[in-house]
């Protein structure tokens, strides 16, 4: 299985029926593909929609029904639309049960950096800071390392997205929890050993006696 699918499949297992969920762009967007159809999840698009559906068939998209990237999407029965004040009221007000976001770095205290690399072009934080600050549960979905460097670091060198620590990090190699304010290795990806995870993890990681394999 490719790394992105591993991550998206594993994150999908975190969602519960009735949850209002906001998925960031990139790997997080893929999570929707792996949610069992019997689960009733409300997906929010922060440009003003709850109830996003799959990409419409050729010729059926509407220019006024788009995702946060401006691409045509569809809406499920029971969908609703709203303005940006309401959209971020939902986000900052703790009404979003789970947000899944990409990351540049997550550090040992759970801080996420995912919006700027000083010296490079700055895309802007968009809704990321509100999502990390306000969502009830924040899950980071990202590759464990990039260009041979661990993205799970002892302390973020990049500007933080929020002072609020994230709750869970899911990578192509591991699931890392942050309960009690401590980074703990909770699961390894299929065929990946604890030693292999530790070798590509810069942050100090608590290792329980038993670390199960991801069930995906």
């Amino acid at each position: 299985m490719d790394p992105q699918s591993i991550i998206a499949r594993r994150v999908a297992l975190e969602l519960r029926s009735g949850d209002l969920v906001n998925l960031g762009i990139g790997i997080p967007t893929l999570v929707a593909n792996y949610v069992p159809s019997e689960l009733k999840i409300f997906f929010q698009s922060e440009n003003g929609l709850i109830g996003t559906g799959p990409i419409p068939e050729q010729g059926m998209g509407h220019p006024l029904l788009t995702d946060a990237g401006g691409r045509p999407i569809s809406a499920l029965p029971g969908a609703c639309t709203f303005d940006s004040a309401m959209s971020f009221g939902l986000i900052r007000g703790g009404h979003v049960n789970v947000t899944v976001l990409g990351g540049l770095q997550v550090d040992a205290s759970g801080h996420l950096a995912n919006w700027m690399i000083p010296g490079k072009m700055v895309p802007g934080m968009g809704g990321a800071m509100d999502l990390v600050t306000g969502a009830r549960r924040v899950i980071v979905a990202m590759q464990h390392a990039a260009k041979g460097k661990s993205k799970i670091v002892q302390r973020c060198s990049l500007p933080l997205t929020s002072a609020r620590p994230v709750d869970l990090v899911v990578t192509d190699l591991a699931v890392i929890g942050l309960a009690g304010g401590r980074m703990t290795l909770m699961e390894t990806a299929p065929g990946v050993s604890v030693a292999e995870v530790m070798a590509v993890t810069e942050a100090e990681l608590a290792i329980p006696d038993k670390v199960p394999e991801m069930k995906i």
Binding site: N47, A75, T81, F88, M121, V122, G124, G127, L160
Partner: protein
């Protein structure tokens, strides 16, 4: 409310004006007004909008024509033009978290001095801002935004100026329609009074100063 042509509407905007433009990645943006801003070469604009869209679309057209000197937005990553202008110091960009941006505009439209938000606490967004602590939690003071003009795109507008928006094209439009001295509106459909049910009006007519007529 007065109905005008796009040309007349944009002619009211002086160079250097502050302008809010509705839309999200070019969706729900008054394209005709942006085309006319470019045609009339209104320059040195202070622009407030969610994002910089992409070249050739929505507010992207204003960066293509280099008409903007100051931008307040939450996201500019999909427009390489503005990135180049930033690097060349030809534009000043103030990046604001999206939820904070919309609340600041809402505050400006609703007569509030600002709001207290937890977003940005402990990040570089906090720099230069005041904190207020409430029950042991810290919040940033984020001040109201107001502008000279708001350019709004509605789905339906009636002859009085009542507006409704469709699907994800609502976004920043209703909030901005309250936060500017002069509000100029384009609509996909202009309809008689009463066609929009009272419960479905999203921007009440008294907020609209100018509605751009068809044709």
């Amino acid at each position: 409310m007065r109905s005008v042509s796009a040309q007349e509407a944009i002619a009211m905007i002086p160079n250097g004006a502050s302008v809010m433009v509705g839309g999200f990645m070019g969706v729900g943006t008054p394209e005709r007004l942006l085309d006319e801003l470019v045609r009339q070469q209104k320059s040195e604009l202070t622009l407030i909008c969610n994002d910089a869209a992409v070249p050739g679309k929505g507010v992207g057209k204003l960066f293509d024509a280099a008409l903007v000197s100051t931008l307040t937005a939450s996201h500019i990553g999909l427009n390489p033009k503005i990135q180049q202008q930033m690097m060349a110091n030809r534009i000043a960009v103030d990046l604001v978290p999206q939820g904070t941006l919309v609340e600041r505009i809402r505050a400006g439209g609703c007569g509030l001095g600002g709001v207290l938000t937890p977003t940005g606490i402990g990040t570089i967004v906090e720099e230069g801002k005041r904190r207020v602590d409430i029950d042991g939690r810290s919040f940033l003071v984020e001040t109201a935004l107001h502008s000279d003009f708001a350019l709004i795109h509605a789905f339906l507008a009636d002859y009085l100026g009542n507006l409704s928006y469709a699907l994800t094209a609502r976004n920043f439009n209703p909030v901005m329609a309250m936060a500017a001295d002069t509000v100029i509106v384009t609509a996909e459909h202009i309809v008689p009074v009463g066609v929009i049910a009272p419960d479905h009006v999203m921007t009440p007519a008294p907020l609209v100063d100018y509605l751009v007529a068809n044709g």
